[in-house]
Symmetry: C2
Subunit: 455 residues, 2 copies
């Protein structure tokens, strides 16, 4: 490892210049006008991969192309195979007026590199490329075969990834996916994310009268759909923060003692979280810490309410209908369709007969979880600790990353989520940045990882 460490140290300046080049492509997948920029970015990336010794090519899809780059294989290699996943597309930079410098003109201020895509995901993924370059350029044998899959549609739902994974099932067969596209609490708290929440989304509409009614002339003799909705939703949660719908907690994987101990190490404490979110007080399911509530427990969340008059002043109506947009976050081992069925059945049963209940089903996704005490997870933790020189934390994230489920479903492989972004990186926001310590330590982590995984 000494040669690798020395190589990485010696080349940081060049690495940054290269990353600048990469970040200058306005590879905004959501905006059709940037289609040529995505193509050019993919081609640049392939050229760069070849330059560092990988066998790379642009693979066309029905959307933006996917870059595939492989370490040179020995004939008949029986080394373990890992796939490093990343994406070269970025979020739209708008609103531009909130950026302190142009989003596609990278700029360094202190230890931060500002540019759209710097943390999400070009910079994080590039650290892995540089780690592999160090192996290849120093002639250090890699203990594994590696394939980089770097797509161009992550920010728009990875619509063509499923087909690509299925079509190249053999080629991509691997021990695990390695993904650095999430976060860590601080530079002192490198993290392995071993769980993600799932989701079900739906919309309920209660309709009362055929049209908005004059609340003076008719109010009092008909139910108000907004009140019916309030009374229906109010019953969903008790005053201990627990969802009352029978079956809602079906399948919930309980937290192990090990996990609860690990959760205590999570550095963002209640007082800090309260301040960060600007709430008067925290509130959640009793018996769980805030960290557990927002990562390991399912929720029933109203995302939006719509009914009647919403303009200035007042309009004296009984609204014809009232609507709530809802998402439930699910946790490992809950089955989205089973929970959806339980929730919708309960809503139907409890909706007032005075109104008509209509339900529009939205998307659903399973939660993700893999054993944090298993060999790959423990190897990842060791790599993190060696690179960052701090004891890493084990984390579950409350959000969903659908591709992780696709990897599991289509290729049967788990994902090691080794995010090296920081909470203030402004991913998806103006002034996105990437910390240069994260970049350097991320390269080291990438380098250690392949050693630790085969130990």
């Amino acid at each position: 490892m000494d040669k690798i460490i020395a190589y990485l140290k010696a080349n940081q300046e060049r690495f940054l210049a290269e990353l600048f080049e990469y970040l200058r492509f306005a590879s905004v997948s959501a905006q059709p006008k940037h289609k040529p920029d995505l193509q050019a970015c993919a081609e640049w990336l392939v050229a760069h991969c070849r330059q560092i010794g990988l066998e790379a090519e642009v693979r066309p899809t029905d959307g933006h192309p996917i870059v595939v780059a492989k370490t040179p294989r020995e004939a008949g290699s029986r080394k373990p195979h890992y796939v490093v996943y990343g994406h070269y597309d970025v979020q739209p930079p708008e609103p531009l007026e909130l950026w302190k410098s142009p989003p596609f003109e990278p700029r360094i201020e202190g230890r931060n590199l500002f540019a759209r895509g710097s943390t999400d995901n070009k910079g994080q993924n590039f650290a892995h490329l540089k780690a592999v370059e160090a192996y290849l350029k120093t002639g250090t044998p890699l203990p594994c075969d590696l394939t980089f899959v770097i797509e161009g549609e992550e920010e728009v739902g990875s619509a063509n990834l499923d087909k690509f994974l299925s079509r190249h099932r053999q080629e991509l067969k691997c021990e695990a996916f390695v993904i650095s596209d999430t976060g860590m609490p601080s530079l002192k708290h490198p993290a392995l994310t071993y769980g993600l929440r799932g989701i079900i989304a739906f919309e309920i509409t209660l309709t009362g009268p055929a049209r908005d009614l004059h609340s003076g002339i008719f109010g009092g003799a008909v139910d108000n759909p907004a009140m019916a909705l309030a009374q229906l939703l109010a019953k969903v949660r008790d005053n201990r923060g627990r969802i009352t719908i029978p079956g809602f907690y079906d399948g919930v994987l309980p937290l192990t003692k090990y996990e609860r101990e690990q959760n205590k190490l999570y550095p963002i404490k209640d007082a800090q979280l309260k301040k960060l979110l600007g709430v008067r007080e925290l509130f959640g399911e009793q018996g769980f810490s805030a960290t557990e509530q927002r990562s390991a427990r399912p929720t029933f969340e109203i995302n939006g309410l719509t009914s009647g008059y919403q303009g200035e002043g007042s309009k004296t109506i009984v609204p014809s209908w009232a609507r709530a947009k809802i998402t439930c976050r699910l946790v490992p081992n809950q089955k989205p369709e089973k929970i959806r069925k339980a929730v919708l059945a309960w809503l139907k049963k409890n909706s007032s007969p005075t109104v008509k209940l209509e339900i529009t089903a939205g998307h659903g996704a399973e939660a993700y979880h893999f054993d944090p005490t298993g060999k790959p997870a423990q190897a990842a933790l060791r790599a993190l600790e060696k690179a960052f020189k701090h004891k890493p934390v084990l984390m579950r994230e409350g959000g969903s990353i659908p591709i992780v489920n696709q990897f599991k479903k289509i290729l049967g492989a788990d994902s090691l989520l080794l995010g090296i972004g920081l909470p203030d990186d402004n991913a998806h926001s103006p002034n996105e940045k990437f910390n240069l310590d994260c970049f350097e330590k991320g390269q080291l982590m990438g380098a250690y990882l392949w050693q630790e995984l085969v130990r």
Copy 2:
């Protein structure tokens, strides 16, 4: 009365031609471009009043002028004085594309006269003018002195009427106001409205986190303001349709046995109301009929709900805030400010400590009520029965008519609400119309009324 009846009968054709002229003025008070039309309409009306023998003039205000027209007074007259209130301004006609014929080109189809303002209020008020014309032109002595006050700002809140009433308190001192600007259930059910509901309006906003939060990353550890709002509002009404806020029913004037008997005569029955409103079932406070619920009982009505994301699809957020617009209808003898105080105190007490409650106070108005068994009411009922040849019903209306409270407050006089509009007249809607039988019988009612009131 024979001469009067004969006169009215003989002149219907001319009356209609005159009403057509009156309706051709686009006297839309809400639209500044129509200011000259309002002035021209007021001047036409004064000229017309003079022509039928009234002493009339245009009285300027800070807004649109008020037309005042009086029956000629005998020197030292000690006759009782009544004021007939009406308005010559009309609602905006938009959306124009929904009109079958232009709103300011009156048209007769069968027994209906279509035009903006035909029922609200030019036609209804014109019937009173024609009744008085019959007295004056046939040389029949009027048993009362009459003053017509016909304003041009009713549809925009009568902003200058208060000042006018106060300034002319002596001139307008009267036994009662007579207003035909409401409705009757059908041609077979002429009606006297003797009660109106009052109102308090306000808006409540619950704020949780300082901004919308990612429901995956933070959901579960903070309260959702939309849920907090639902749980707060849900507690307001029990499953028997009764408002649970202590003090909410304070002051409610109970229905007398006479009133409850009268309410049974109200011709729109539950099944018909259900169909009219397009609801699955009616719902209201137990122990009261639908007619009573919507006219003689107070309500707590959600007029609008706003929170979070309301567009297409889903957005996975914990919204920062949730808002409800609310109006409570009040009934005779409830004090709006007392009820408002009780409601807001309850909301403050019951709002969750996890969210910040903000209340924006809106308008308030007292309910209106006068004794339906008293002499003026009974006189009005006799006039209705003689004119329409059907037993009239006694009604309370669920809406508010603020001017009626102003008349009571400033001049100490009650209002006889003798509406001759029908439920399908489309007041405030496209294709407004006025029934010609209502017009003719309304003239007769107007003629009988002055006789009955002095009996």
